[in-house]
């Protein structure tokens, strides 16, 4: 049977991905129904390793927000959160997630859930933004469960020992609080094992993304946003490691056999910012038809935590989560982008200015101009949003993207 649809060649690993993600949700469902394990809610770049090592099943509301966005239901849910006093200008993961909760709906109902899994504890990290604290506080109030946060400073320029040490202390301070929730003693060896698995998973994820260095690339941004699921929600587990071994092998086979993500790759684009979850499929088709492959992105690279080290699980966790792209100053971000442009042979950059996610929109403080002055790689800015499709003008954006491709081709 053909694996090609609308010029997009599906990765065969997607079946294993579905199973891996399905099993993950089944474990959450099982914990909800049998109460055999405690459930922690965690931010997507939060202390997942610590939570897994202490025996929690871990649920990620941001993953849920992305599912709502991808199922094109956010516009139905957001107004309920807005009516409750949550501004339409704040994170649309937050407003769509809370809105869905208020309407007693979730994409997880298709997987047999009655509602989202009830938390026993909520743990966030402000390394990506401060809105996650407000988001989780809604549920802490609703479920009357404890909430703990790691307050990482935003806009880290030089990553000094004092910043890392502060986060180490906060990680350690979580332990006795989480012990109260689980009723179990923390086991440092178990934490080391989990950090080691997370490291291995992240290294594999890096290798997966770096297959796109090859010309033509065997994977594009739209594949990666789907296949990143396990590194987001199962970081620190064997499941993620097992999945990325399979995916990496398939991509390496693709390279050997000359199979590319975009059948006739002529241009290689870097995507900065969030995906437009409700437009993944149509955008994948648009770029494929334009013989253009989005080979690298800030977003998918954000789940590479290869500083994790089992010999120093607290210190390396703090370091890895403070090094995260989104938490850095523009000067540090520019250094990262400069390297990626060279490594991935980038012809042009698209900055997605997401209306409700300033932290993940890196075009707002002159970075595109400065980077362009440095490397002369053309760029395009498009306005949209991660979940709220009302912020996106599709026709205008298509015209801009088509023109950008012609602009880049004229330079070839």
């Amino acid at each position: 049977m053909s694996n090609e649809k609308n010029g997009i060649i599906k990765l065969q690993s997607v079946d294993f991905l579905r199973k891996t993600m399905g099993d993950y949700f089944n474990r959450l469902k099982d914990a909800t129904e049998t109460k055999n394990k405690k459930i922690a809610w965690c931010t997507s770049v939060g202390p997942a390793e610590l939570l897994y090592s202490m025996g929690f099943e871990v649920y990620f509301p941001e993953n849920h927000g992305a599912m709502i966005g991808a199922s094109k239901m956010a516009d139905k849910y957001i107004p309920s959160a807005v009516a409750l006093g949550y501004s339409p200008d704040i994170c649309s993961y937050l407003t769509s997630d809370i809105g869905a909760f208020l309407q007693n709906e979730t994409p997880l109902q298709k997987s047999g859930f009655k509602s989202v899994p009830k938390p026993d504890v909520l743990v966030y990290n402000t390394n990506q933004c401060h809105e996650v604290g407000d988001w989780f506080s809604f549920y802490a109030r609703h479920f009357n469960v404890p909430i703990f946060g790691i307050n990482t400073p935003l806009w880290i320029n030089e990553l000094t020992p004092s910043i890392v040490n502060s986060v180490v202390s906060q990680f350690k301070n979580l332990v006795p609080e989480l012990e109260k929730v689980t009723g179990q003693k923390f086991n440092i060896e178990k934490f080391r094992e989990t950090v080691a698995l997370s490291h291995d998973g992240c290294v594999l994820w890096r290798k997966v993304l770096e297959t796109a260095i090859h010309k033509p690339s065997p994977i594009n941004f739209f594949d990666a946003t789907i296949h990143m699921g396990p590194i987001v929600v199962m970081r620190g587990t064997q499941y993620a490691v097992d999945y990325y071994k399979v995916l990496l092998a398939e991509l390496q086979d693709r390279i050997k056999n000359g199979i590319s993500a975009v059948p006739s790759e002529k241009l290689r684009i870097y995507w900065d910012g969030m995906p437009l979850w409700y437009k993944l499929s149509s955008m994948a088709k648009l770029f494929s038809n334009l013989d253009t492959c989005i080979v690298a992105s800030t977003y998918c690279n954000s789940w590479i935590f290869d500083d994790l080290n089992p010999e120093d699980p607290f210190g390396s966790s703090a370091l890895a989560y403070c090094k995260l792209f989104i938490v850095r100053s523009d000067a540090e971000k520019q250094k990262v982008l400069e390297k990626l442009m060279v490594d991935f042979s980038i012809d042009g950059i698209i900055y997605h200015d997401a209306k409700t996610c300033g932290r993940n929109s890196n075009n707002r403080f002159g970075l595109p101009t400065r980077l362009n002055n440095q490397n002369n790689i053309p760029y395009l800015e498009i306005n949209g949003d991660l979940c709220d499709s009302r912020c996106y003008s599709e026709e205008q954006s298509i015209i801009a993207i088509e023109t950008f491709v012609k602009q880049l081709l004229s330079r070839k």
Binding site: Q396, T403, K406, Q407
Partner: protein, 247 residues
Amino acid sequence: MYKIGIDLGSSYTKGVLIDDNHKIVDYYLTRTGFDFQKAANKIIDKFSPNNKILFPVYTCGYGRDELKIPFVANSEIMALSKAVFAIYKKKCSVIDIGGQDTKYIKINDLGQVDKFKMNRKCAAGTGSFIEELAFRMDVSPLEFSNYAKQATEEVRINSYCTVFAISEIIGMVKKGATLPNIIMGIYNSVIARSIELSPIEDFLVLTGGIPANHSFMIKLFQKKFVNCESPENSQFLAAWGCVLLNS
């Protein structure tokens, strides 16, 4: 034999008839409405009785892919750039103000697009902003320039939003602002939105339906940018550029 270029824009469809020397010999403008093919037919019907037309037609704009007749679709930004460079033959910046979009384009010495930027998802700074305010003030947009000439002082309109701009204008009327001064404020608001797309460092070319129909706005641009021109019939340039791109 003649070729036809058609710019199927959000508000208006612009058509040009091009001879073998790539010169515009006729042009026609009609409202786009809901049916792109119908709008294109009006252009073709206008030109075809007296001229032998060579198909396909060359299109750009929002309806560029929507015709049921043979066509070659183009990017309006590339088409406009081609036309502007054909006229001036030097590097320049272009500000194109249309019904729904305002665009900034930087063209290099070779006539290539170095950079472009479009307005955000917002009507402020576009023709729709002017049309909506004109409707609410019950003044024809085509009379705007004549009123603006009579302005005695600038009234500043700060709102980004068309609806709130109306509220702001109502407040000004209450305080005794005159119609010419308000229209001057509207013009300056559109100019402010368009020049924030990018720094303008070189020769500036104004194009699109708004400069073409609001001559006084061109004068206001020229006060800010000494090296600034707007070619005649500039709303037809993208349609012409479609043909040039394929010649």
